[in-house]
Subunit: 307 residues, 2 copies
């Protein structure tokens, strides 16, 4: 099944203890698309400027990503600069130039109308909601958000959360959204806001999926997938979006939607996140094989499963 992602395409300038790069292709829709492309057909809706070249586009099309929803407009592409010199777990933003992204109004090509799986990247919740409402046939919607929207647009976000099947956010965002410090209690509060499941990303400690009672079959327990202990994280940028791409891409490729599928998806999310950080930008995600992905899935399994 195809999956549609709506999000950002950006040129990033990044400094980490391993080095620095200027204006490399990034953005949530980019990382998501590449990660998901190893599992299923991906369609992208995003906006780029006149500086987006054929070479940049080829990063998508080489992986078979459908770029008919990639809108080109006058001006420059979104630019972000950040560093992880002191702390690989958290970016310090140096600059943000929204450029063409400032007035982004997602336009869904009519060829995308039959899409059954949707991922709403981290954009204004009102735009997320508009996209979801336009896509009648969607079976499962995943969505991201961030501290900025939780603080500045709580009402709009509350409406949008009702439209998401699975929310993927980190510990801090979960606790902030719920107004509750204890993680499982915070998770239950977020689930009460609408979604059927909540994926809480713990960075180097993996991720936990919490299910609403009765959602995706029986059972009351959450499920936890590890992250790979990595000796050299070259560039953490895009790890969360790559996680979402692996998670949603795996789900979209399955016939059924049940807890076992979502649990495995959590492992594939971790797998794709672990590849993303091995090189700067999207370099590693451009050149993977399905064999490498399955190999790392087995490593994740050995990391957590008793004999």
């Amino acid at each position: 099944m195809s999956i549609l992602v709506v999000g950002s395409v950006a040129f990033d300038t990044i400094a980490t203890p391993s080095g620095q790069v200027t204006d490399i292709l990034g953005g949530s829709a980019t990382y998501f698309s590449l990660a998901a492309s190893y599992f299923t057909n991906v369609r992208v809706v995003a906006v780029v400027g006149e500086d987006f070249t054929a070479k940049d586009e080829a990063v998508f099309t080489n992986r078979g990503v459908d770029v008919r929803g990639l809108e080109r407009t006058a001006g420059k592409t979104f630019r972000w600069g950040g560093q992880y010199l002191d702390n690989l777990n958290e970016a310090k933003t140096d600059f943000t130039e929204l450029n063409v992204f400032e007035k982004f109004q997602p336009r869904i090509p009519k060829e995308y109308a039959d899409t059954q799986f949707l991922f709403l990247g981290n954009i204004h919740p009102t735009l997320q909601a508009a996209v979801r409402l336009e896509m009648d046939g969607v079976r499962l919607t995943g969505g991201d958000t961030m501290n900025y929207w939780i603080k500045s647009t709580p009402k709009e976000l509350a409406e949008t959360l009702k439209l998401m099947t699975v929310v993927l956010i980190n510990d801090t965002e979960t606790k902030m959204l719920a107004g509750e410090k204890n993680l499982p209690r915070a998770a239950n509060k977020v689930l009460a806001m609408g979604p059927q499941a909540l994926v809480v990303k713990h960075g180097e400690y993996g991720a936990t999926i919490f299910f609403r009672a009765g959602a995706f079959g029986l059972g009351s327990h959450p499920f936890r997938a590890p992250a790979l202990p990595i000796e050299e994280v070259k560039d953490p940028t895009g790890a969360g979006d790559s996680f979402a791409g692996g998670f949603m891409g795996y789900i979209a490729a399955q016939g059924e939607l049940n807890r076992e599928v979502l649990k495995r998806a959590l492992f594939y999310g971790g797998v794709m996140g672990s590849f993303a950080v091995e090189r700067f930008g999207t370099e590693r995600l451009q050149q993977l094989t399905r064999e490498e992905i399955e190999g790392r899935f087995q490593v994740f399994r050995e990391l957590t499963h008793l004999g």
Copy 2:
């Protein structure tokens, strides 16, 4: 097989968001002994003062713990006061009264000489080393330490680490000990200091065991066990020592020492830690059944294992 623990017995005064208690029985040797007692015979070496009552002793003996190594001396028992009002993950110490613990010199009863498993609780590394060197027949030694010893007695600690088979510490202690921010790199540095395996406790995110190459059989991967997402942590005091008690107690009860045993032990560590925090002090650890423990082991398994 019997296991011997050397550590502290204390009276704790604790405040958490769930309430407060004064002068309740605690200390590393106490939590460890109770947790390990569900798996194997436990022997304890510690010191108490004249205020340690028959009722306190019964907490140990009711669980079959051998208290012949519990030395009574003139003065008051070690007292600690702390609170977790702002942060359940880290205690804020209100006071420490070492009392009889200040001049603690572990004395091993001759009846303990045949002990094969040893746990060195968090005391001065020179005392830890002396105990280990006195115990000729020990097959496996687990040991704890803390920031204070890492900073103030690095040379003594370096010698003691060579005598430990498995070191159990948290993320911060691992990174401090190694002088390295990246966890897997820090873990490798600690392993190079002597131990065959290193258990890094991640608090609410579980724990990871790293193996020295070739130790406990083949394989190069670490192994990660979860912690239970707990909605109400009443009192985190003793969680780490209860973890160590479950981990070491399970190991001591097995015939063989191999990676699979250590992996399962990591799960049992998490299980015992999860029980400990459900009530204040040692209350929950005093009244468990083996069935409850196995039930929770299954929950930990379901929390992490794919179908």
